[in-house]
């Protein structure tokens, strides 16, 4: 939902970042307002996942230039946990398994950290169980998963549902979903996408990072951005995604070649 007067939640300006001394992002610009759904598309290696990791504060990624404002605050100055508590959420492409840590306990501690930040009362185990059972509905998840260790032995689809369950509990203002559709069969995709749609509201925004059109068949974006070589090459409406589906990514290469000088020629 595009409203020009909606407050800006995330403002990325000329963002440059690298991992293991390898520059990946070369000047990303992106503004996200409340109520909007954005999709960032691009080939493997275009920098999509790096963008999501940088926004969440992964320690392996270094920002060399540029700025990110989250509701007017310098996001890059915050620890990953502070970003999460303030309402930035990253749905992982490959959620890790954490043996020994109970999923229920993990969800409760995370939810309470976010609640505390918002000045809300912490939930005790009983109140939390009520809440989590209600939110399980969003992703139609079996309560048995609460009793297991975090993601341990979960199938790909179960891990993704657990991600969206976390999103439903944390109620982020900016949700970045990194390749949430990867590894999902069509039924799981519908459930996960249904959850994302259900959670979208005029107050929050969603940034979908994806390879394929098929996620955008079930979640309709307001904006589609095409990423290549570490920056956003084109921005359009949902029809841009269809165009990509039609024409493939070759034209992106052509457009990229026309840009000079290419960063790879330096040094």
């Amino acid at each position: 939902m595009i409203r020009p007067d909606a407050p800006v939640l995330l403002e990325i300006r000329d963002l440059h970042a690298s991992v293991a001394e390898q520059p990946i992002l070369h000047g990303v610009n992106l503004t996200i307002r409340a109520g909007e759904i954005h999709a960032v598309m691009g080939r493997n290696g275009s920098g999509k996942s790096t963008l999501s990791k940088v926004l969440a504060g992964h320690p392996a990624y270094t920002v060399s230039a540029g700025s990110v404002l989250y509701r007017g605050e310098d996001l890059l100055a915050l620890d990953p946990e502070q970003r999460a508590r303030r309402g930035v959420f990253l749905g992982f492409q490959y959620p890790v398994e954490i043996p020994g840590v109970s999923n229920l306990e993990f969800l409760r501690v995370a939810t309470n950290a976010r609640r505390q930040e918002r000045g809300e009362e912490e939930l005790d185990t009983f109140a939390f169980e009520d809440l989590v059972r209600e939110r399980l509905e969003v992703v139609k998840m079996d309560p048995a998963f609460l009793e297991r260790s975090v993601n341990e032995g979960f199938s790909g689809g179960e891990k993704k549902r657990n991600e969206i369950l976390q999103m439903a509990l944390l109620e982020p203002l900016v949700a970045i979903l990194d390749e949430t559709d990867s590894g999902l069969d069509i039924d799981a995709l519908r459930i996960v996408a249904g959850g994302v749609n259900q959670l979208a509201s005029p107050e929050n925004a969603t940034l979908l990072i994806t390879h394929y059109q098929r996620l955008l068949d079930v979640i309709t974006p307001d904006y589609v951005h095409v990423m290549a070589a570490g920056r956003i090459l084109r921005t359009g409406g949902k029809e841009l995604a269809l165009e990509l589906e039609d024409r493939g990514y070759d034209w992106v290469d052509a457009e990229l070649a026309a840009l000079a000088p290419a960063p790879l020629e330096v040094g």
């Binding site: 504060g57 620890d79 990953p80 946990e81 992982f92 959620p95 020994g100 840590v101």
Partner: protein
């Protein structure tokens, strides 16, 4: 932060490192037969005990420091240690009101309130300060049930026949170098006797405090559960921070007769030395339980977080038919700490069963070894053992080792051993952080998850305590 930084360890100040300024009676440094006689005389011991001590001392002189453990430490100068130090007070007090307030204050500060109104309502405490027990709470209430709970020094005077019958019957005085030393010079510890058929009505607990800088502590504890009796006992320990190493050489003996059950839990938090490995307690401990009777059960649970050196193998001799031995252990080492700890399960009786669950956590540049023996004797028909030894590494400079020894002379026995090693990964930490969980809380969540099987075995009051202690030990240690 990079993976290297994950292992970059910073010290959390040790909270129990203070020294109580109290007038102390000490004997001169050094060890010879006269010192052994002097200790015995100070404790006004009967002749049989002096003989026990002298025999042990002579055996000790013939023995060598064991060198098979994966530990490195300088030679200990046994002539540079004080073998007896006691706060100057006339004798053991009948009432707590007469105990030096400074001592009560010390235990208050350690979180062990001894004064009547503040006592833990369901835990009786024996408080040992350097070489002597200063107070034992709830003695009278326990006596109503026929339970004896007092310091071993008092037991020697009041119940000499029980001491003579049981002392040294589980750990013989020549069992090993440190047990021999302890048998010669042991100072104080607790004595517990649960008579026939009695279930001890409350948790028993001994708190050991080392205060003097140049003193060794030689704790001696004996617990006897008669037929059908049961007891749960917990020991805790702390010491001030000194930049010299101090020796703690303890012997603990447990005896369980037919159908008796003893649960012995330890939360060991001796001073571990500083982040450069200077100072700290050398902890050489012999703990052994004897399941003497049929269907008897002895369970060891230990949470080892302190000491510069830990050398400790709480064991069970499963002599009775259908007897059960258990060992649940969490050993955490940080900075330059070294631990070589584990258990021995000696299966003698038919259908005896044992379970070993060991969780080692190594951080900093520490070294943490599990060493365990499962031995099945020729008569232990149908004996079973299950062992699980897991190690967790934090950072990339710590070491974890597992040395399981299995000897079976009984083709019918079933022995299972499982082992695993894991490392807390940066991606796991980031995942928890990206959900709003702080870095240190994330580490402590993973560590307590790793230790859960053991913490579940601790008495409820202490499980939360142990969890907190571990979190505290690791606070600032990662990141």
């Amino acid at each position: 932060m990079s993976t290297a930084a994950v292992g970059d360890l910073v010290s959390q100040p040790y909270r129990y490192g203070f020294v109580t300024d109290i007038e102390t009676e000490k004997i001169p440094k050094g060890l010879d037969e006269d010192v052994v006689r002097l200790i015995s005389a100070k404790k006004e011991e009967p002749a049989f005990l002096l003989d026990f001590r002298l025999r042990a001392y002579r055996q000790w002189l013939q023995m060598q420091t064991p060198d098979w453990a994966a530990l490195g430490f300088p030679a200990i100068d046994y002539q540079d240690i004080i073998y007896y130090a006691a706060p100057r007070q006339q004798s053991k007090k009948a009432s707590l009101d007469e105990v030096d307030p400074k001592l009560l204050e010390t235990f208050d500060k350690l979180g062990i309130p001894l004064s009547e109104q503040k006592r833990l309502s369901n835990v009786a405490v024996d408080a040992v300060f350097d070489s002597v027990s200063i107070a034992t709470t709830y003695r009278e209430k326990l006596a109503e049930h026929g339970v004896i709970f007092c310091s071993i020094s008092e037991a020697v005077k009041e119940y000499p026949e029980l001491i003579e019958r049981y002392l040294g019957t589980v750990v013989p005085s020549n069992d090993n170098y440190f047990a021999a030393l302890n048998s010669a010079v042991f100072s104080d510890g607790s004595f517990v006797f649960i008579p026939n058929g009695v279930e001890c009505p409350m948790e028993l607990s001994t708190y050991f405090r080392i205060n003097s800088g140049d003193t060794g502590q030689f704790e001696r504890t004996l617990i006897v559960a008669e037929e059908g009796a049961s007891v749960s006992y917990l020991e805790g320990c702390t010491a001030p921070m000194f930049d010299t190493n101090q020796l703690h050489a303890a012997v603990v003996e447990l005896v369980a007769l037919d159908d008796a059950s003893i649960k012995y839990s330890t939360v060991q938090n001796w001073y571990a030395g500083d982040e450069n490995g200077v100072g700290g307690i050398f902890n050489f401990v012999t703990k052994r339980g004897h399941c003497r009777g049929d269907r008897s059960r002895i369970s060891w649970t230990q949470v080892e977080t302190g000491s510069a050196i830990t050398w400790k193998y709480p064991s069970c001799v499963l002599q009775g038919a259908d007897s059960v031995g258990e060992f649940y252990s969490v050993a955490l080492t940080n900075h330059h700490q070294q631990a070589d700890t584990g258990t021995k399960m000696i299966h003698v009786g038919p259908r005896s069963r044992s379970t070993i669950v060991s969780k080692g956590i190594s951080a900093g540049q520490s070294s943490n070894s599990y060493r365990g023996l499962v031995q099945i004797g020729p008569k232990a028909v149908g004996a079973r053992n299950f062992s699980q030894c897991d190690s967790m590494l934090i950072g990339d400079r710590a070491a974890a080792n597992t040395y399981p020894y299995i000897r079976s002379q009984q083709p019918d026995a079933a022995v299972e051993h499982e082992a695993s090693t894991c490392r807390i990964s940066e991606d796991q930490l980031f995942y928890l952080q990206s959900r709003g969980i702080g870095f240190e809380e994330a580490v402590s969540m993973m560590v307590s998850g790793f230790c859960r099987d053991v913490f579940n075995q601790l008495p409820m009051e202490f499980a939360a305590e142990a969890d907190k202690l571990l979190a505290l030990k690791l606070e600032g240690s990662v990141g």
